[in-house]
């Protein structure tokens, strides 16, 4: 049965699609084209000419010559790998606990997904209060020893803070995928393994992790992409550390926005954006090339 409605008039479907098309046009294509424009041109120092100066790859040369940019890249990489590792590790422990049906697991299964539904800036704001060294819940540690925790002063503390925020938000997401993956492992395999003499840890290492590998790989790429170049990272950094102290958390996504709209260096920021877009494309390519093929949605 092929019941396909055929519209004779061309303008009716266009009319229906128009709101969406306009949104995409104004908020995606226009900015994207502008980024190209900005990345390869420069505004004359005192303006006025009305003509933007075409400078070829000079903006990129400037960006790549800047040691702070490379520091930002390495910070981003450090952030991405640590946050991903932490988030996935904790999510896996939680998923294993729920899979073993420990007490209260059905309740936790329900609550664990909640953080993912919260917007990153809101997470950042909440953690900013919780981890405020003077007045947050954490402040008690500073009564034991002054400055035991002070993300406003120590770069390492600030980095820990944003990593915790990101991990907290993504644990729920990872947890759901891992739980689903664990539950698709036939129970009898675990029973067979325990008849063969293995304890819970051995079962996790020998049976559950290998069988969960496609899911874990999928989550790994997704988490890395998200933490390296994703909007969540920007939202969290912006609301907690603002890239500081002393640019200790100045990750790439944050650096672009602050350079463009605070430093007013549109050309430099545009060039960095293009680099980032390139990286996103690489990540996406990896994801489609290697991950989609291996993950079996059951």
């Amino acid at each position: 049965m092929n019941k396909r409605a055929v519209f004779k008039s061309w303008w009716l479907p266009v009319l229906f699609a128009l709101p969406q098309l306009l949104l995409i046009l104004f908020f995606f294509y226009w900015p994207a084209i502008s980024v190209f424009n900005w990345a390869f041109t420069l505004e004359p120092a005192f303006g006025g000419a009305g003509e933007r100066l075409f400078v070829g790859f000079d903006n990129f040369r400037d960006v790549f010559a800047d040691s702070e940019y490379w520091r930002s890249v390495s910070l981003s990489l450090f952030f991405a790998f640590t946050a991903t590792g932490l988030s996935m590790f904790i999510a896996f422990i939680l998923a294993i606990c729920v899979d073993r049906q420990l007490k209260g697991s059905s309740l936790f299964r329900f609550f664990y997904i909640w953080p993912y539904a919260i917007a990153a800036p809101a997470v950042g704001l909440a953690f900013r209060f919780i981890f405020a060294p003077e007045s947050g819940l954490i402040a008690v540690v500073n009564t034991w020893s002054p400055d035991l925790w002070n993300p406003a002063k120590y770069g390492s503390h600030a980095m820990i803070l944003v990593i915790i925020c990101f991990a907290w938000k993504w644990i729920g997401y990872n947890f759901i995928f891992m739980t689903a993956g664990l539950q698709s492992i036939p129970r009898s395999l675990l029973e067979a393994s325990s008849m063969d003499g293995s304890g819970p840890v051995r079962r996790a290492l020998d049976i559950q992790i290998p069988l969960l590998a496609p899911t874990l790989f999928f989550l790994l790429v997704l988490n890395l992409t998200e933490s390296f170049v994703g909007p969540d990272t920007y939202g969290i950094v912006d609301l907690t550390t603002e890239g500081g102290p002393n640019k200790a958390t100045d990750v790439m996504v944050y650096r672009i926005v602050s350079e463009a709209f605070r430093g007013l260096n549109y050309s430099g920021a545009a060039a960095q954006s293009l680099v980032l877009i390139g990286l996103i494309m690489v990540f996406t390519f990896i994801q489609f090339r290697f991950v989609e093929r291996r993950v079996h949605y059951k």
Binding site: P186, S188, L189, E191, A192, S193, S194, M195, D196, G197, S198, G199, R202, D206, I207, P210, L211
Partner: protein, 373 residues
């Protein structure tokens, strides 16, 4: 080699009772088959012996040692699962050797024993394959190999043959029996297939609705089913039944108004009792209509077996299956005479479902009327 003792073992899930107090003893080296319809609690009992299912109350002991609170790995049992439960990411050798690896057996020793086991179960050529590349029968062998490599005291089989096609099933049945002879560990085999049960068992246990209905050798159970349920469940095609009352003299019952002789001693003690009369299809006789001592029966339809045939006849609304010899032919729709030899008639009380001449009646509980899951 180990004895298994099961003492008043019960299992409940919430308010549903699955096992209603099971008492059994398995001798060392015995091949025990637990037979019953699905949902009778036989798999649950097996899993309780294995340690995969908690024991609600009662006691299970292996080799005299109570194992209620022992982890599966400390019980010395190994198990063959219905769906084999092979580790899909490991090859055959790794599957078979996994228990040894967990136990920390050195590599050389492990390889030697894997090779030895593979030879026993006939998998030498396939050690590098993954389970997905094996046929059903081969997977079954891997599961067996995995179970025997640990040299366990007890083998547990949870319907291991039910996923195989009919021909393989017969073949594996023979191999399991042969393997048992060779290893002589105590084996507990759960199945719903009465042919498997009859052919494999030293000791056969028939379960129904969470109760043990009868324990005995296959022949005891075939010849003297203790309850009507056991009579129905053992034997193929199933036993024929008709309900009636033992006549006043105690030496006969009536089928369609015609006298059927029964054991006069037994009948004499139970005259006037409402009974279910059971007789196996292979013990009924079909004779030309009008023969003395036969009940006229309409031939309903015929199932051809080649080596013989099963004739379904109908008497006054009751249907009987009769197994007849290769050289006996009957026409569908014809009238024949049915004879029920008195020495093969089983009498069960309609009230309790118990066999009338079942020895010491005092120790027997009535057959369960309650339905469990």
């Amino acid at each position: 080699m180990a004895e298994i003792g099961i003492k008043d073992v019960r299992k409940t899930y919430g308010s549903t009772q699955i096992l209603h107090g099971v008492d059994l003893n398995f001798k060392s080296g015995e091949f025990v088959v637990i037979l019953g319809p699905s949902g009778c609690g036989k798999s649950t009992l097996l899993r309780m012996i294995a340690g995969l299912e908690e024991i609600t109350s009662g006691e299970i002991s292996i080799d005299g040692k109570v194992v209620n609170n022992l982890e599966p790995r400390d019980r010395g049992c190994s198990m063959v699962f219905q769906n084999y439960a092979l580790y899909p990411h490991m090859n055959v050798a790794a599957n078979i050797g996994y228990a040894l690896k967990v136990a920390g057996v050195p590599r050389a020793e492990r390889d030697r024993r894997i090779a030895e086991t593979a030879k026993i179960v006939g998998l030498e050529e396939l050690l590098d394959r993954k389970p997905a590349q094996l046929s059903g029968g081969q997977r079954q062998r891997v599961a067996m190999g995995r179970a025997i490599i640990r040299e366990p005291k007890v083998f547990l089989f949870d319907e291991p043959l039910s996923n195989l096609d009919a021909k393989l099933r017969v073949q594996m049945r023979v191999e399991i029996r042969r393997l048992h002879k060779r290893l002589s560990a105590t084996s507990v085999f759960v199945t719903h297939d009465q042919v498997e049960a009859m052919t494999l068992a030293d000791k056969l246990i028939v379960m129904n609705k969470g109760h043990v209905e009868q324990v005995g050798t296959p022949l005891e159970i075939y010849h003297r089913p203790r309850t009507r349920f056991v009579g129905t469940f053992i034997g193929s095609p199933a036993m024929n039944f008709f309900d009636t009352t033992i006549a006043a003299g105690g030496d006969h019952v009536l089928l369609d108004g015609i006298v059927q002789a029964i054991d006069p001693v037994l009948g004499g003690q139970n005259a006037g009792t409402a009974v279910s009369v059971g007789i196996r299809p292979e013990h009924c006789r079909l004779v030309p209509a009008g023969t003395v001592n036969s009940v006229p029966a309409n031939v309903d339809f015929i199932e051809e077996l080649g080596s013989g045939r099963i004739v379904h006849v109908e008497i006054d609304g009751l249907s009987f299956a009769v197994s007849v010899e290769e050289d006996q032919f009957f026409e569908q729709g014809a009238v024949a005479g049915l004879q029920l030899p008195s020495e093969h008639i089983h009498l069960f009380s309609q009230e309790t479902g118990l066999r009338l001449d079942d020895a010491p009646a005092a120790t027997r509980q009535p057959a369960p009327k309650t339905v469990a899951a």
